[in-house]
Amino acid sequence: MSNVARAFEGEGPDVVPSRRTDTMERKPNAVQPAIEIHGLKKRFDLKNETVTALNDINVTINKGEFVSIVGPSGCGKSTLLFLMAGFTQPSEGILKVNGKPVTGPVTDLGIVFQRDVLFDWKTVLSNVMIQAEMRKLPREAALEKARYLIARVGLKNFENAYPWQLSGGMRQRVSICRALLHDAPLLMMDEPFGALDALTRDQMIIDLQRMWMENPRTAIFITHDIAEAIFLSDRVLVMSPRPGAIVEDIRVDLPRPREIEIRDEPAFIDYQRRIRKIFKSLEVIHS
């Protein structure tokens, strides 16, 4: 513990006020930002025009939070995620991940895409293990972890199967295992269940919640499904149609673990109604 922190714990009350901000950050339970975004804009230059995809995004996502970003198709949710992951660069504004400005791909993360992005030429196990292989993690430990995760999502007998032998839901489970293998402090998901049928999706969000609770970490979840967003999240960020902006930041106070039936409870329905109302006022949903 540093001297400053020790000072805060005990002696010298006169020291405290002047050093408050410093000591606040050092307290173990203090809320720390994982992602900080200020005045972020993203424009795309097309043939004849410049399209503003994101307009003035300001948001802070704290460490350990599960945050969903919900918005209509084409509002720039995925663009925002790709910016946070450092795949593309903002046109304007400040974007920091773990306190550091993002200048290139962030490697301290696990990512799940809309499509599963499994490699057809690798088995399920190899597809998960590529994460360890590329990061040069110790092989034995990673293998054990990979097998554990694959079993955890119910694919124990499919370790040596190829992706084309699996259903859409199974494939996306494999890609989630790949994103979790290296215990990154940041998990990013870009509409991971968008292509799945409703029943599979219900199972997926329950599984995801369970795996996240086993090892909570900062999670960013992009979706256009309001119920999915509420079910999974501590916070739901609501985005407007293009040019995308965050119009509402809703804290979801529902106890975990959440069961699928929670969607029938008044508190849940209230959240849903609130978000739907926002979309209606933005004319995303017409009557």
Partner: protein, 251 residues
């Protein structure tokens, strides 16, 4: 099994039988179209001669093909990864392909002499373009997500190429290689026509000049079998490398 082997074999046997019968019935003169049995006998009697010439032609084809694959894939990687090369090199490639190779064969002979080299070069020139084009298409058909995924794992450059771009391009590369191997055979034979004293192409011309129809047909049979075997070899290696691909999954 029946669909794959027996039916094709039956249809082939039937065709040969009809051919043999029309020939024996005297409907076609032997010096115009020798019967299968005569060709078979010639194949046996002249086996040493045929084999010696086959060796030369096979070597030309294989060297030309190998060069085509090596340079085709290499150049495609260069053109895709270093975009500035494309406007510099690509027009030359297209122009070089528009000129009929057969037309420049005499020129190559003049430049490179009478030996193996001009034949390999012509086989290469004919076979090279499909490999290049298909590899370029393959390397460019990678979506952005797999590349992003690799970046998130800290893998770029060669590792991203090796683990994502190359496997994605592989089905296209093999498609190009299958076209290339048959074209390389055509190139080698034509090059032998133009100027040579060995090889199956030379043997074909020689038999033609001496009105030796059985030998001509025997040479033709050997050329066909050789081309078929080479194609089969490429196809078999494709099955080994692309077992995962949608075109090879067990149905």
């Amino acid at each position: 099994m029946i669909m794959r082997w027996i039916l094709p074999a039956l249809s082939f046997a039937l065709a040969v039988a009809i051919w043999e019968m029309t020939s024996r019935a005297g409907l076609v003169a032997q010096y115009i179209l020798p019967s299968p049995s005569v060709i078979a006998k010639e194949l046996y009697v002249q086996r040493d001669l045929l084999l010696a010439h086959t060796y030369v032609t096979a070597l030309e084809i294989l060297l030309g093909f190998a060069l085509a694959v090596f340079l085709g894939v290499g150049l495609a990687v260069l053109l895709v990864y270093v975009p500035v090369f494309e406007p510099i090199i690509y027009p030359w490639l297209v122009v070089s392909q528009v000129i009929p190779k057969v037309a420049i064969a005499p020129l190559l002979l003049m430049w490179l002499g009478f030996g193996l080299l001009p034949k390999v070069m012509i086989a290469f020139l004919v076979a090279f373009f499909p490999v290049l084009i298909d590899t370029m298409i393959g390397l460019r058909s990678v979506e952005r997500e797999p590349i992003y995924l690799m970046q998130s794992m800290g893998a770029k450059g060669f590792r991203s190429f090796w683990h994502v771009r190359l496997p994605t391009a592989l089905p296209h590369i093999f498609g190009g290689m299958k076209v290339a191997i048959t074209l390389a055979a055509v190139g080698a034979i034509v090059a032998e026509f133009v100027g040579s004293n060995t090889g199956l192409g030379y043997l074909l011309l020689f038999a033609n000049g001496s009105v030796n129809a059985p030998l001509l047909f025997a040479a033709l049979v050997v050329i066909s079998v050789l081309a078929l075997l080479l194609y089969w070899a490429v196809s078999a290696s494709e099955r080994v490398f692309l077992g995962w691909h949608i075109s090879h999954r067990s149905r």
